[in-house]
Symmetry: C2
Subunit: 80 residues, 2 copies
């Protein structure tokens, strides 16, 4: 069994209104010196597949088909 960790982040240059809102909230709470906040998704996927290479290939295919919107998002896959 393998566990995959997937990070989906907005591409550079894509506006992140959720991040901007969190930045303003942090400013209001008195946290000084916050320059930028970018928010993404983090997924942990448990797979029956025992080969780490095949698991990575499978999860990469999942990212392309479902987990990430590759027009505006980047993804990164790590196998534990």
């Amino acid at each position: 069994m393998n566990k995959a960790r997937v990070f989906v982040t907005l591409k550079e240059g894509v506006l992140d209104p959720q991040g901007t809102t969190v930045k303003h909230a942090l400013d209001s709470l008195g946290f000084a010196g916050v320059e930028d906040v970018r928010i993404g998704k983090f997924m942990e996927i448990s797979l029956k597949e025992s080969s780490p290479d095949k698991a990575k290939e499978m999860v990469t295919a999942m990212c392309r088909k479902l987990l990430a919107n590759t027009v505006i998002e980047d993804y990164r896959v790590e196998i534990e």
Copy 2:
């Protein structure tokens, strides 16, 4: 300047309907052998603070106050 990476995940035992939905969608797309999917948040925070230790302390405080709901979520902070 420091960059912090924050991972916010649901605690063990907390239901994750979003993860369940993604699991079913992966099954429907023909990905066999997916045992479990858990979905969390991933944040990148750029800080003016130059000391990594102080930056970590500050981001941990942000997690407790705003970024994570510590009743149902765990958080992890990494400084780059």
